[in-house]
């Protein structure tokens, strides 16, 4: 898959080969401008339909080329949570409840089902208390939760989530990751763009690194975050890997580079007593 925006001289992404298995949580990481959002927009079908340009290659969902799929049907299959919650809020609804119901209404879902689905979603995201608030009166973090809820309510099998926690405090961030984990446990397939490497190391099955429009690394969290190559692609290590690398550099032998808190605790406890 390659794509060059109509207004750009150079390609935004080139020769990307990527397979995401059903039920997998795949994290897309890379410096800003490396092509992460472009990949999300291609998978969601916004490219080349809304953002025009020159595209080659294809995207298959369950074996079907998305070029052949109507954008509305694609929306049923893929829930897209935007990077900037300020653009996701519809602007046409007066309350959070109505905002979260908006997508389902558009699909013509029965009113009683909408009501119960919205109730469940508000509870899951922890925003029941905001149900009557105007979406525009909310803080950045609250808007981000509402944006997430409005997609979750539609219950698509695939989620494309672009930096869902950029406006959230540490607790809110963990809450969102717990929801993402719940989605995964319910068999959803998830493509996640996120800069918080500690959380990716903890939750993702598969990490894909983009650098300047090319796919440069792909593997398990241990393979990617434990590799010295990562540093050459302008991506931060999880702090736990930093700790392991630092300790190893100080002359303490470590068999592997821990990437999660649990692994770091186990490895460093052992090394302390050796």
């Amino acid at each position: 898959m390659s794509f060059t925006y109509a207004t750009a001289k150079d390609s935004s992404v080139r020769d990307i080969d990527l397979t995401i298995e059903q039920g997998e949580l795949c994290a897309l990481v890379g410096a800003n401008g490396s092509g992460k959002t472009t990949v999300c927009n291609i998978i969601r079908g916004f490219i080349p339909r809304f953002h025009t340009g020159e595209m080659s290659g294809q995207v298959l969902i369950n074996g079907e080329d998305i070029k052949e799929t109507n954008l509305g049907l694609l929306a049923l299959q893929i829930g897209f949570v935007f990077q900037n919650p300020f653009v996701q809020i519809s602007g046409s609804k007066d309350t959070v409840f109505e905002e979260v119901a908006f997508g389902l209404e558009n699909l013509g879902v029965d009113v009683d089902i909408i009501r119960s689905r919205v109730e469940e979603t508000l509870e899951l995201i922890g925003i029941q208390h905001l149900r009557d608030s105007n979406p525009f009166d909310l803080s950045g973090g609250q808007k981000q939760r509402v944006a997430f809820a409005s997609i979750l309510a539609m219950d698509p099998p695939i989620f494309v989530i672009d930096e869902p926690t950029s406006q959230l405090d540490p607790q809110g961030t963990e809450d969102i990751f717990e929801i993402i984990k719940l989605l995964k446990n319910n068999g959803k397939t998830i493509l996640l763009v996120e800069h918080k490497m500690e959380l990716i190391a903890e939750y993702a099955d598969h990490v894909v690194v983009l650098d300047d429009g090319a796919l440069v690394m792909s593997g398990t969290t241990s393979e990617v975050f434990g590799s010295p190559e990562l540093a050459t692609h302008r991506v931060a290590y999880p702090q736990y890997a930093e700790a392991a690398l630092g300790v190893r550099e100080s002359g303490v032998p470590l068999a592997r580079i821990a990437v999660t808190r649990e692994e770091a605790l186990a490895d460093l406890t052992e090394a302390m007593h050796s």
């Binding site: 207004t7 890379g30 410096a31 800003n32 401008g33 959002t37 990077q83 900037n84 300020f86 803080s139 950045g140 973090g141 609250q142 930096e163 950029s166 406006q167 959230l168 405090d169 540490p170 607790q171 809110g172 961030t173 800069h195 500690e198 302008r234 991506v235 931060a236 999880p238 702090q239 736990y240 930093e242 700790a243 630092g246 300790v247 550099e249 100080s250 303490v252 808190r261 770091a264 605790l265 460093l268 406890t269 090394a271 302390m272 007593h273």
Partner: protein, 274 residues
């Protein structure tokens, strides 16, 4: 604190016109040339505090003074010339069709023209790394770059103090470094820099003093080491220790580790003792 306060809040409470109480009995002062991080959960009152200091809001009770003049005795525009506020959402403050005009707008309204105007635009662009984008339309730039455009246009105003609201949201490793460097540079030129953030690692890397807010109040105001090892305060504010501090605590490495070099040093010290 030796230098006199530039911004001072005495027993300030603030309610929105709809009656929602956002801040209660807040007393704080910020000196010239000081850099301070404000942390706390979403909804703790951080953004309301920022808008009070910048004159957008006037206190319901108590006083806010900038340079010993109460903000109620001046217009919001007058206060904003001294205390620049960069919004959480850059799109709340970007209005022009190219980055150059956007950055130039603020100083122009102050009556600055000619060479000085040009110098200010280029200096602010250099500090924020948007120099190569001066001819571009801000809305063709990614969210993270638009944040830098918003920061540049506030810096170009030449205020005495700057308040950054969540500057690191959506930033990658290099964006984080740019923000760290620009805070350092503003501080070196005698500016006061107040930053609202959810990123504890960013606080460890760039600030000394930390103000913790919870439930509309200031619950702690001290150096970062005391704050990040004050577990009851962190719990009260629903915050977490930075990753390496937490790992050091779990490993029993003493109770003062903040960054990687300290982590590696205390690990080495404990290990050699065993």
């Amino acid at each position: 604190m030796t230098s006199p306060a530039l911004i001072r809040l005495d027993d300030v409470s603030f309610s929105y016109p709809n009656g929602h109480l956002a801040l209660e009995n807040v007393s704080l002062s910020f000196a010239r040339g000081e850099s301070v991080a404000i942390v706390g959960q979403n909804g703790a009152g951080k953004t309301s505090l920022a808008k009070l200091m910048n004159g957008l809001f006037k206190p319901s009770l108590g006083t806010v003074s900038v340079d010993d003049i109460e903000t109620t005795k001046r217009t919001s525009a007058q206060v904003a010339r001294q205390v620049g506020y960069v919004f959480q959402n850059p799109d709340d403050q970007i209005f022009h069709n190219d980055v150059y005009s956007e950055i130039e707008f603020g100083p122009k309204t102050l009556g600055i023209t000619g060479d000085e105007l040009e110098e200010r635009v280029y200096a602010a662009a250099a500090l924020t790394g948007v120099g190569p984008q001066l001819d571009e339309n801000p809305y063709n730039l990614p969210f993270s770059t638009r944040k830098f455009v918003a920061i540049a246009s506030t810096i170009a105003m030449g205020c005495d103090a700057f308040i950054f609201d969540e500057p690191t949201a959506g930033q990658d490793q290099s964006g984080m470094r740019t923000i760290g460097a620009l805070i350092e540079s503003l501080k070196d030129s005698g500016k006061t820099v107040i930053t609202i953030t959810h990123d504890m690692q960013f606080v460890v890397d760039n600030f000394d003093r930390v103000v913790v807010m919870a439930n509309r109040r200031v619950v702690a105001d001290a150096d970062k080491r005391s704050i990040f090892w004050n577990l009851p305060v962190l719990e009260q504010a629903n915050l977490k220790q930075p990753y390496l501090s937490e790992l050091a605590r779990d490993l029993g490495l003493g109770s003062d580790v903040l960054d990687l070099s300290e982590f590696v040093a205390s690990f080495g010290a404990i290990r050699s003792r065993r």
